[in-house]
């Protein structure tokens, strides 16, 4: 592989790592504005991370090595995912390592490790959080798979770069099946990233929290890594969404010189800004669901994805 591809690869990863907290910050800011609060500065997540990194870890007595490894594994898998997802370019040497399905697998691995770590200390909340997290997971995955099915039917591939290439090769058109799939994907994204209406990242109300409940025992650098990883996760999901539904601007195979990359980066940032705002809007408009309503919510997502599938098969495009 040529140096330029390597540069592209690493550049993308670095871009992801740096942009992810910023994106979270941006979303928080939009939310604050929408709820007419004074917004925290855009770089707030970075400050948070810096503070956490310099604290001492308070490690619970019964913690096993698994507990201490988990933050690194989470961060690692999210970075890896960022390296696979074509956020600015499709010709990535590492993208062949895993197609979209394997990507879901990667996320699942992260989830399982996080849940195990949460059970490790043996507090009531940790286990409860783990349980709920896994529940959301097994409900979300079928829907996500159906979404990918749609993409596959259009592009004949589950490898995200090929999907993007296939789209950008064809004429620019909104496919009816994709609209259904898109809505489904957004719903899954909200659920998977612990956003309203399934979970609320900014609350510590014990009985309703999922994600935060698993982090109760973490502190300092471990917590920092986890937070960073979860922001990366959100970022990755956003990028998957862009690749599947709004692939325009991504530097495709062949047409990926320096300018194309700059253009792609710009496009990406633009999409992120819009998406962040939209996300904030959705979160502010919708109320959090009771945990037992989550199945219905995700079932709806699943249904939409399947509808997209059937629409495609019926219209037979």
């Amino acid at each position: 592989m040529s140096p330029i591809t390597m540069v592209r690869q690493f550049g993308e990863v670095l871009l992801a790592i740096t942009l992810a907290p910023l994106f979270v910050g941006w979303t928080a800011q939009c939310r604050a504005w929408l709820q007419s609060r004074t917004a925290p500065p855009l770089a707030q997540p970075y400050r948070m991370l810096r503070k956490l990194f310099h604290k001492d870890v308070a490690l619970a007595a019964g913690a096993t090595p698994l507990f201490r490894m988990t933050p690194y594994i989470l961060f690692g898998s999210m970075v890896l995912a960022a390296a696979i997802i074509p956020s600015i370019a499709t010709d990535l040497p590492f993208a062949r390592v895993a197609d979209a399905i394997a990507l879901i697998g990667l996320f699942a691995t992260a989830r399982v490790f996080q849940s195990l770590a949460a059970m490790d200390i043996g507090t009531a909340f940790g286990t409860m959080g783990a349980r709920r997290e896994m529940m959301v997971g097994f409900l979300a995955e079928p829907a996500l798979l159906m979404v990918l099915f749609n993409a596959f039917l259009l592009s004949g591939s589950t490898a995200l770069p090929s999907v993007v290439d296939a789209y950008s090769a064809g004429p620019l058109s909104i496919n009816p099946s994709l609209t259904f799939a898109g809505v489904a994907f957004v719903m899954v994204l909200l659920a998977e990233n612990a956003r309203i209406p399934i979970d609320n990242p900014s609350t510590h109300l014990e009985l309703t929290m999922i994600h935060e409940a698993m982090l109760l025992e973490y502190s300092a650098r471990h917590l920092a890594l986890i937070e960073w990883a979860s922001s990366l996760k959100l970022f990755n999901y956003a990028c998957i969404g862009f690749a599947l539904f709004l692939p325009w601007g991504i530097a495709t195979h062949g047409a990926d010189g320096g300018w194309a990359l700059l253009l792609a980066a710009g496009a990406l940032i633009g999409k992120l800004i819009v998406f962040g705002a939209a996300l904030a809007l959705v979160e502010s408009l919708s109320a959090k669901l009771r945990i037992f309503r989550a199945p219905e919510y995700l079932a709806t997502a699943f249904l939409l994805a399947v509808l997209g599938l059937l629409v495609h098969l019926l219209l037979g495009s």
Binding site: F53, H54, D56, V57, A58, L59, A60, A61, G62, T64, L66, Y72, F75, G76, V79, L80, F94, V97, A98, I101, A102, G105, L106, A108, T109, R111, V112, S115, L116, M119, D120, I121, G122, A124, T127, M128, A130, R131, M134, M135, G137, F138, L139, E141, P142, L144, M146, F149, F152, L153, G156, T158, A159, S162, E206, R221, F292, P295, L309, L313
Partner: protein
């Protein structure tokens, strides 16, 4: 494929008498079992002496199976001067049997080594007898896949059932274990009868019982379907396909753990073998309806097993249900393969079939590993209920670590082996819209969703399994002095864990193996990329996956991150007590329980269970929460049959009323009836 010179020379040397060697090793197993009877009560002799030898033989069998598989020479046949007149025992070693020999040999070796360290004296049957049954079990499984005529197949098949039955009831003093054994043997026998009838159809009215003759014999579609359905019944009963699964969750927990591992990891696979042998080899045609049937049954079993594994609180029972789930996944693959093959899409059929075969192999590894681990836990704690366990990671680090590998593998997570087969299967599902049947090509994609749900549920179940047994705080003080596995057991566990990792990291090798099988059965193999660390079964553009690079990537990033954090920040930490949520009187009993973990599943899939709850009242001084979840199919399918038999036998008792006059009347009426008949 390219071997170094000496390897290929060795391979050639082995090929020449491959089948003879295999037979020799199998007889070696029988011999080991027999000499175990010389000193039946000496644990040292049997366990420390014979079982490791059996493991070595297992490795040999695996090697020969691999040779038969990868060297790709013509099938070898052989005839023993035994059996019925005109029907001596035929043996045959081709790619299919080679694959399953490999599976049994490799996994069996690990289990045997573990068993060498596992059995304690004074546990039920005498060690010698146990060793006899154990090795007969191994040998009969090998013979099942080697058999090349109906009679020999049936003999080996029933021998397998019988020996495993004796292993299951090795602690026969407990009535519930006897009950489990009875149910197991009964279902096995009924299944065998169905197979018998299936062969009765296949022999085509010319009493040609050799598989070669059956391959040749053309069958009318109706007869072929009858044969297929009978085979599905017979092998489904052995594999534990819902609703024929009743025996499985009873028998697996009842058996000693190495036996549970053998039954779940190896024996269920013989059913898969038989299904493939009959459907793709002996029956010369397939119909897509068969495929749909198998697919539906498979998916149903998979989901059903996963759901029940989610609510069960006995660790071995949980694993048993997870076996049902995995068998379901395998049969899903087979169903897809039939569907594709019937629609003349051999490439996709090959993809689905490789997925099924690979999953069979994987399941042999991780399920055996987990069952053995539960064996260790059982010996260390004498507890089977999850509610009494917890925090064992501190006291049994070896088992905990190796079991973690198995857990992640069975949860279908990259980069371990479980993920690969499920990934392949999902890939196969992606092509179902190509099927030229309306409705089918719309409905089957939903199967993919069910499969995804199952896989994700498996992850849920496994988090529950591992987290509650090994993580958290010990729920009972007794767990503090649990001891770790001894060195033989460690070898066995490590062997299986390495298997999980190896296949997960280099699936290409396994795909070559399955490729040989699909080549034999479908005349088509998935496309095998030249490089050893990629798999791209259909084409690099469609989808590709590399476990090795994924693992390497994770390790690199984690390493870099770790070092970076150490450099940029620091590594200081101090131990504290966990945060008590402002309630300082917490005990380990306040951790979430297995029942609690089952709650979401009971909530979502409530209609599948018969539940009886015992909820504490608010004013309860000593509140108790108890929930008992039963298999609804048990009440809907099994109990009525038993009742019907009971009722019939009650009513038939009238015939024997004790009155001589009535008896005379019977014979008189019979006479008159027959006379009227001939008149």
């Amino acid at each position: 494929m390219s071997h170094p010179g000496w390897v290929s020379r060795g391979v050639v040397l082995l090929q020449r008498h491959d089948l003879h060697w295999v037979l020799l090793l199998v007889l070696g197993w029988l011999f080991l079992g027999a000499i175990g009877l010389l000193r039946p009560h000496s644990l040292r002799f049997v366990a420390r002496g014979l079982f490791p030898a059996g493991a070595v033989l297992g490795l040999g069998v695996a090697l020969l199976g691999a040779v038969a598989l990868l060297a790709g020479q013509a099938p070898q046949a052989m005839v023993l001067p035994l059996g019925l007149p005109n029907l001596p025992f035929h043996l045959r070693l081709d790619a299919l049997s080679g694959f399953f020999l490999l599976l049994m040999g490799v996994a069996g070796a690990g289990i045997s080594i573990f068993a060498a360290g596992y059995f304690r004296s004074g546990e039920g049957t005498a060690p010698g007898l146990l060793g006899l049954h154990y090795h007969i079990f191994l040998a009969s499984m090998a013979l099942v896949v080697l058999a090349d005529d109906a009679y020999f197949f049936m003999v080996a098949w029933e021998l397998m059932a019988l020996s495993s039955y004796f292993l299951v009831v090795s602690q026969h003093r407990l009535p519930e274990i006897r009950r489990a054994g009875f149910l197991y043997l009964l279902m096995a026998h009924l299944g065998a009868l169905c197979l018998l009838l299936c062969f009765g159809v296949l022999q085509g009215g010319k009493w040609q019982f050799t598989f070669d003759a059956m391959r040749g014999a053309p069958l009318a579609p109706l007869w072929a379907t009858v044969a297929f359905l009978l085979a599905l019944l017979g092998f489904g009963a052995k594999a534990g396909l819902v609703p024929l699964h009743g025996w499985l969750p009873e028998a697996h927990p009842a058996a000693p753990s190495p036996v549970s591992a053998m039954m779940s990891g190896l024996m269920l696979k013989t059913a898969v073998y038989g299904m493939l042998r009959i459907t793709f080899d002996l029956l010369h045609i397939q119909f897509w309806q068969w495929g749909v049937l198998v697919l539906v049954l498979g998916l149903f079993s998979a989901l059903y097993g996963a759901i029940f594994a989610g609510v069960k609180t006995d660790m071995k029972r949980l694993l048993a249900y997870s076996s049902i789930e995995n068998i379901g996944i395998i049969f899903t693959g087979i169903g897809l393969a039939i569907l594709f093959a019937a629609c003349h899409l051999p490439l996709f059929a090959a993809l689905a079939l490789s997925a099924a075969l690979l999953h069979a192999l994987n399941h042999a590894f991780f399920k055996s590993l987990l069952f053995l681990a539960t064996g260790n836990v059982l010996h260390a704690t004498k507890r089977r209920s999850l509610g009494a366990l917890g925090g064992l990671a501190h006291t049994m680090p070896w088992v905990a670590t190796l079991a973690l590998v198995g857990t992640l593998a069975i949860a279908g997570l990259p980069p371990l082996n479980g993920f690969v087969s499920e990934w392949l299967l999902l890939q196969a599902f992606l092509f179902t819209p190509r099927i030229p049947h309306p409705f089918i090509n719309m409905l089957v994609p939903l199967g993919a969703a069910v499969l995804a749900l199952t896989v994700a549920l498996a992850a849920y179940v496994m988090v529950k399994f591992y987290g509650i047994i090994f993580l958290g705080q010990p729920r009972e003080p007794a767990l503090a002095e649990a001891h770790d596995a001894n060195w033989l057991e460690r070898i066995g566990l490590t062997w299986l864990a390495l298997g999980c990792i190896a296949i997960g990291v280099l699936p290409q090798i396994a795909l070559r193996a399955t490729g040989a099988v699909t080549g034999l059965l479908l005349g088509q193999t998935v496309n095998l990329s030249s490089r050893i660390w990629w798999i791209a079964p259909i084409g690099a553009k469609q989808a590709s996956y590399s476990g090795l690079l994924l693992l390497a990537g994770i390790i690199c990033v984690v390493g870099i991150t770790f070092v970076a954090v150490r450099i940029l920040a620091h590594g200081r930490f101090r131990r504290t007590v966990p945060w008590d949520c402002g309630y300082p009187w917490q005990t380990s009993r306040m951790q979430d329980t297995a029942e609690g973990f089952g709650q979401p599943i009971r909530h979502i899939f409530g209609s599948a269970f018969d539940m009886e709850r015992e909820l504490p009242s608010p004013s309860d001084s000593a509140p108790r929460y108890r929930i008992h979840v039963e298999d609804r199919l048990w009440r809907m399918a099994y109990v009525p049959i038993a009742r019907a038999v009971q009722r019939l036998s009650d009513s038939i008792g009238v015939l024997q009323g004790g009155r001589l006059a009535i008896y005379l009347l019977y014979s008189f009426l019979t006479l008159l009836g027959l006379l009227a008949g001939v008149l």
